[in-house]
Symmetry: C2
Subunit: 243 residues, 2 copies
DNA sequence: CGCCTACTTGACTTACTTCAAAAACAGTGG
DNA sequence: CCACTGTTTTTGAAGTAAGTCAAGTAGGCG
């Protein structure tokens, strides 16, 4: 397992500039690491967390639980992401977090982080920035689920995760681990399971990508992007020209 | 016109605790106020703003412009909101802002704000918090546009705006100014104009509310909330029990 | 091997979109 | 004041995408 501090630093450096003292400040944070099984919740709606989570390995997701018991997935997070940085300033969780596949998550105490932000504002600013990119991803999800055709929105979803994993250095060439079921895909994109399947087959037939057994393979990135209307600008990465 | 500093302070106090020195720090910020006509853009996709906007009066909205020229509205903002606080840390705008109805907007220089955050971290934290509530609103919009029936999502949209306006002290009893067209409502909720109209008529027929001529009247709040599945917890206001 | 879960497929039904046109309304100029 | 224009809202009818329901297949695991 890679060191949690290093994972966080790598991820923050993706978009922010940090001084030597900021890095050592981050490394001074205490933390614990826990492993979670597929679908295991680690923060629930209504919780008042005092720790902030960092994805160390695997994938986690945020979701809303509706009155009728149905689920709406809101976002997916990979190694380096801080999926609940909002807990730093918002007392009560309005959504839950669970592992997608097996995942390792590091937890940092809010108290220590806030103290660090006061001492080294640049660290706070870089994590603030991270939460703002998060918000940009949510905005894109609104547009995706509201304004695109079903196959289009599925393509866009795959594009985003593929791109983010690529930036994080997690892809194996054209392959990307994505341990998500079709049912979950439906609960993410707002479509019925039968539709998910048919849209997926349409994407397969397009020859641009394949997704099966929790693995995404992108064979024609440019065409897939086109088909999805994907423009990575909203992810606000420094290396725009990556792929 | 009310003083922009006072409007900002009132709004931040809605969820954060600020010391006397923080308040005077906020009041030391220079700003300009501009008035915009209905549908007038004041920040465009791709811009690199150096000022942060505060809604002083009226309503503004954020939206994505898609490749095919269609629009997806992302959020609506009323007096006291900072609709582009993200510009503080994210260089390039991934969405645009426009006035809905006539609106007055105050602009504060990023440079001054960042300097203030370093001197008085609590101010930065309160605005950070504001951006996190923003993100919570986006998350709810994902769920709304993906998991609810068309009339349900329209009801939820009205509930949220009514509630937020009420908290901000902008409602006139059961009435609330909402200068938005049915077309825009469709571009917000991801539904065709014809559907918007029919869903609206369904809501009218339910006897819980009416919306016409840019004015929302809520006659049965409890029933409307019920019908919408609206739970204001995600807005993270201090006064939960308000309505 | 049998059970469970995840995926796939088909048939049916209904919601919603699209298209088209009418009605209501606001603004403009004679 | 009223005709003219453009915009927004409303209504109707037709077509279609996608949801629901139901059954069948495939893969993983004790």
């Amino acid at each position: 397992m890679k060191n949690a501090h290093q994972i966080l630093i790598r991820s923050l450096k993706e978009h922010s500039v940090l001084a030597e003292e900021d890095l050592s400040g981050i490394c001074s944070l205490t933390h614990t690491v826990r492993e979670f099984q597929p679908n295991e919740d680690f923060i629930r709606q209504g919780d008042h967390p005092e720790l902030s989570a960092l994805v160390v390995s695997g994938m986690v997701a945020r979701y809303h639980l509706l009155d009728d018991g149905s689920r709406q997935y809101l976002s997916f997070h990979i190694a380096g992401d801080l999926p609940d940085a909002q807990g730093l300033f918002i007392d009560e969780m309005d959504h839950a977090l669970c592992a997608i596949g097996r995942a390792e998550v590091a937890f940092f105490p809010h108290r220590e982080m806030l103290r660090l932000f006061k001492r080294r504002p640049a660290i706070g600013f870089s994590i603030w920035r991270e939460t703002l990119v998060d918000a940009a991803i949510f905005r894109e999800a609104i547009t995706n689920n509201s304004a695109r055709t079903k196959p289009g929105r599925m393509a866009h979803f795959f594009c985003e995760l593929f791109y983010r994993a690529r930036v994080a250095g997690l892809n194996d060439g054209a392959k990307c681990i994505l341990p998500i079921s079709l049912t979950q895909l439906g609960e993410t994109l707002g479509m019925a399971i039968a539709s998910v399947n048919r849209s997926l087959q349409e994407l397969r037939a397009s020859g641009t990508m394949d997704f099966r057994d929790g693995e995404l393979v992108v064979t024609k990135w440019r065409e897939l992007k086109q088909l999805a209307g994907f423009n990575p600008q909203y992810l606000h990465m420094k290396k725009q020209s990556l792929i």
